[in-house]
Symmetry: C2
């Protein structure tokens, strides 16, 4: 009798384990949204299925700030502020000039609400003259030591668990994942690598103008204060076409600025291929942040085009690895 | 007695096979040049060796026209000419305007000697107004059907065998290979994929300005006649930094225009890492083409900086897969 009970219990334990092992997205709550992702990826990657797509065309693009990790504030804003502070004395004009004045006076309060182009301009000016190599190693060190003001965690630990699962599962199914950031490409590369293991050439982002100079007989790249490209809105589509040379079939962004609408629309236009567009909604006050979009353009576009909208509060069982599960 | 001879013969055959299997670059003739490549790659990729480099930093960049396949003429020039011919009637001004006049009158004779920027400008103008998708599929079809005027082979079969071996062996040793072309990125992508299996996002090149338009409710990218970036000379360094975000440790280019000098110099400046620069010299009249560089700047830079110079005539046992071996 006892042995039969033990066998039964062992059977149940095994069945549970198998179920968990079968679920590639355990941090996503079961429901129609999760099912839509599962169906899409299986259809795309199963030979013979109606939606089968050859591996070389399985391109997925992800916004980063607010989609792969929290954006209020992002590390770029904090790193820009550090650079401004260090050069404040040399630039008395910043005391009366926007957006420098606001950044230096209001600090992270301003930077949390500032538009992406203003933050990137601050970063460009704050580090003008640095070599690319010096800028990258300084940013890497800063990001390694910085803690998120609310979560008190290093930035690399702020990867959203459901997105880590999704990226890993896509990779296992032959997808090539790219990060398409409105922020500095150099900073996005550091975080994408540390939090997601994504290599630097798979990250597209905003950039400053650089010059190639001969210094002591060596070629050196130095950053100028001018913005080369602000990779937001329609520019994301142009840069995807330029960098990848193929139209993505999966695009993921988030609700806040409307900066991902064009990229999601572009991915939907794939000729003859099924595609999926996902929009993350920041509606979890307790575990993340809560914010919306003033003109609701992203959600309106989602409704009009049949995109999937993810509620962080309802659709994500776990948000960060360091938080306890909220089953 | 017979059996002993057979055993001996079998032994010799086996030893020869093993030697061939041990040589990752059989199309390269043995000598100091080949040895330098072998030593470099083994040193970089052997854990514990003095020059060991972590896999994520094993970045290799290759020029394409004249380095991976013949460039006199390249398919870009022939495809530009096709587009010009098709629109000649709409543009009577081309009959008296350079470089259109020269291209239309002198045909491939002009295009064979024309500077890279003129050829790219012709291509930009010839296909202005096309969608990116239409341009790419038209170029793919053209390249699939075209034959090299001298070798009478499809372009995809014009891959240099020694470079195929080198790229494959680098990949097997954890290197990430990129193509950095002065030609159209779209055309370079087609050839890199068909001749070398290199994916489109691993190709950097010249590009035209594109616009994102809404057409019948769909986002469409259309090409304009203006050049966005001519990816040659110092621009190759800037685009490598922008696209890859890391300094390569191996760079390969060829003697003709001097357009690869900056890229090779840049790869040599890696802090704390061994690097290798290779320059291909077109000195094989019988099997390829023979040409030099007017001011000898590439060879002078090779001498001054200790770069490896490859003589196609002496260092390559085989050039194309379709040619008989010249042992």
């Amino acid at each position: 009798m006892l042995s039969r009970v033990l066998l039964l219990l062992a059977g149940i334990a095994l069945a549970t384990l198998c179920q968990a092992a079968d679920d590639p997205l355990p941090a996503w709550r079961d429901g129609p949204g999760k099912q839509r992702i599962l169906d899409f990826v299986r259809d795309i990657s199963t030979p013979g299925s109606s939606g089968y797509v050859t591996p070389s065309a399985r391109i997925a693009v992800f916004d980063d700030d607010g989609t792969l990790w929290p954006e209020k504030p992002g590390p770029q804003a904090l790193f820009a502020l550090k650079g401004l502070r260090e050069r404040e004395a040399e630039h008395p004009e910043w005391r009366t000039q926007m957006p420098f004045m606001a950044a230096l006076r209001l600090d992270s309060k301003y930077l949390q609400e500032a538009p992406d182009d203003a933050v990137f301009q601050l970063l460009a000016v704050a580090y003008a003259g640095r070599t690319q190599e010096a800028f990258r190693s300084e940013a890497r060190e800063f990001i390694g030591n910085a803690r998120h003001p609310r979560f008190k965690q290093p930035w690399a630990r702020l990867a959203y668990t459901p997105m880590r699962e999704l990226l890993a599962w896509l990779r296992a199914n032959g997808f090539h994942n790219f990060v398409v950031s409105a922020g500095s490409v150099d900073i996005a590369r550091i975080l994408a690598s540390e939090a997601y293991g994504i290599s630097s050439d798979d990250v597209i982002g905003s950039s400053v103008v650089t010059t190639l100079r001969d210094e002591d007989g060596k070629p050196v790249l130095r950053r100028l204060a001018s913005v080369h490209a602000l990779n937001d809105g329609p520019v994301k589509t142009l840069s995807i076409d330029q960098h990848i040379g193929q139209r993505p079939i999966l695009a993921v962004g988030n609700v806040r600025s409307g900066g991902d609408i064009d990229m999601l629309r572009y991915s939907q236009g794939s000729a003859g291929s099924r595609s999926l567009q996902v929009l993350i909604k920041h509606d979890d006050f307790e575990r993340d942040h809560i914010y919306d979009e003033k003109n609701r353009a992203s959600l309106d576009a989602a409704n009009a085009n049949g995109w999937m909208v993810v509620s962080m509060r309802h659709d994500w069982r776990q948000i960060f690895a360091f938080q306890a599960d909220a089953q």
